[in-house]
Amino acid sequence: MMQWLTPEEWQVVGLSLRVALWATVGSLPVGLAVAWILARKRFWGHALLNGIVHLPLIMPPVVTGYLLLILFGRRGVLGAALADIGIVFAFRWTGAALACAVMGFPLMVRAIRLSIEAVDRRLEAAAGTLGASPLMVFLTVTLPLILPGVVAGAILAFAKAMGEFGATITFVSNIPGETRTLPTAIYTYLNVPGGDAGAIRLTLISIALSLAALLVSEWLARRAARNIGGV
């Protein structure tokens, strides 16, 4: 099995998983918060926030990547400030994770927001009368009820991260061992003579990982639904 892929290819798979995992885990709390605000709060600028969240879905990925470069590059507005406290995104795997997180964010927020909107708010009011503070209501009632949506959103974001190409290559380039994830590695193979075999191998890996993510999400969603339905 180890011989099936070259050490470089194993590195690509490992890096892809790491990038996708961090992108998902890192964006989950923010995605949850934004989804909650969009679902529950009405305020001036609601439509604007909604638009900004959805931008990466409708803009060309290269544009998103370029904007990230302007903002988080070494000399970028935020990049320079963050570099002072030791956080660097430019041309690092962390940057790839950031790019993937941004690209998957709208998908995650949409899934979570829909599930929050489906929650029966009368249950939350009931929890309040039983003494639960708003935070405890969220943790003990809202969150368990939206868990299937949260899982679905996270898996969508993970799958998106595994396949993200445009924004990643624009923002953090294609550095072996640092930012070369599955899609960029496949792209690199296709640009060298005789790289077809490698491209096929990584493509199969990519399909397998996507399928696995889908199956896990189905399983988790069914489990969560069983808990809620109580059957």
Partner: protein, 356 residues
């Protein structure tokens, strides 16, 4: 003790109501849209009134003049909703324990085993709400509210979504709750039968205002513009069993208005019960009649003669301090020349068991 006085506009609707609820069950009674639910939502903190005060046991929950508003989760006001609202992701046991978790330790008066026994839900503890019947859900919802050790308990038409069999299943539990829980219960209902059976005190709501308030027997026996139809009007008497069975399948019960014989309700001597005497089941005689089949007669004075409606008119008698209603024809009223203050005999055709 609960003290409410509020003034609240909601669209075209104007709610202006005040009442006090002490131990026992206070029924907020009135048609749909009379403001009952808004009123309990104000008490629970789910609706913020524009003006008013709500105090429980001397603690102010709302005082708009002082800009004071205690959020719902700090009120310790139990609430049983019409639709139960059990948490679908928790088992019955977890639902029941939910409120306890948030109750300060020294104030956890309600004991799990006692409440479970009181409501007869011991067999349901490991089930999920989705697998419970409507009546079981509502009993669990009552238990969940009680186990948060509330200072008062609000019940918003808890039986409205249930069929008659399920209602009959729950009513005895609410009676026990009223007699044993030791906290004031505010019970919203538009069903006369529930109020007649359960209420200690009745607050009658009409168009956002309190139309009448007082002891159940008094309010339910009023003759003026009530949400009651003629067929529902009647007197409530609280009684005690004096003789369980007279050998004819009848029990002898004592009320302050006099003794009555009622079909054996299976209660022991000394047990308390409540009976209802519908106005249409009462005839009036100037002198105690002889040779009639009716078993029950009460002596009283005519306290009030209501407005005639069609061919009939309802009289309110004062029988040793208790109101008893009688529906007679206008023709009889004239023929017998009945006047307020006169002594008469109420001949009672039927007495209905209304509750414990």
């Amino acid at each position: 003790m609960l003290d409410v006085a509020i003034n609240h506009h909601q669209g075209d609707f104007h709610l202006q109501a005040s009442f006090t609820a002490v131990a026992g069950l206070t029924a907020l009674f009135g048609r749909s849209g009379s403001g009952k639910t808004t009123l309990v939502n104000v008490i629970a903190g789910l609706v913020k009134p524009q003006q008013g005060r709500v105090t429980v046991d001397g603690q102010t929950l709302i005082d708009t003049a002082a800009h004071r508003f205690v959020p719902p989760h700090r009120r310790r006001v139990g609430y049983v909703f019409q639709e139960g609202r059990l948490f679908p992701h928790l088992t019955v046991r977890q639902n029941l324990r939910y409120g306890r978790w948030f109750t300060p330790a020294p104030e956890r008066r309600a004991r799990f085993d006692d409440v479970v026994a009181l409501l007869g839900i011991g067999g349901l503890l490991d089930r999920h709400p989705a697998s419970l019947s409507g009546g079981e859900k509502q009993r669990v919802a009552i238990g969940r509210a009680l186990l948060a050790s509330p200072r008062i308990l609000l019940m918003d038409e808890p039986l409205a979504a249930l069929d008659d069999a399920r209602k009959a299943e729950i009513l005895p539990y609410i009676e026990r709750l009223r007699d044993e829980a030791g906290i004031p219960i505010v019970y919203v209902s538009h069903a006369v039968a529930e109020v007649v059976r359960l209420a200690t005190t009745v607050v009658m709501m009409e168009g956002g205002r309190v139309a009448a308030a007082g002891p159940a027997a008094e309010v339910m026996a009023r003759l003026d513009g009530l949400p009651l139809t003629r067929a529902e009007a009647g007197a409530l008497l609280d009684a005690q069993v004096r003789e369980a069975d007279d050998g004819y399948g009848l029990s002898l019960i004592a009320t302050p208005a006099g003794d009555l014989r009622v079909p054996n309700v299976g209660l022991q001597v000394g047990a308390r019960l409540r009976v209802q005497i519908l106005a249409r089941d009462v005839m009036i005689a100037r002198t105690p009649p002889e040779g009639v089949s009716a078993l029950n007669m009460l002596q009283g004075r005519i306290a009030e003669i209501g407005e005639p409606l069609g061919a009939s008119v309802v009289l309110r008698l004062d029988c040793f301090g208790l109101p008893v209603l009688a529906q007679i024809t206008r023709r009889s009223l004239e023929t017998l020349n009945l006047q307020v203050g006169e002594a008469v005999t109420a001949v009672i055709k039927s007495v209905t068991f209304a509750g414990r």
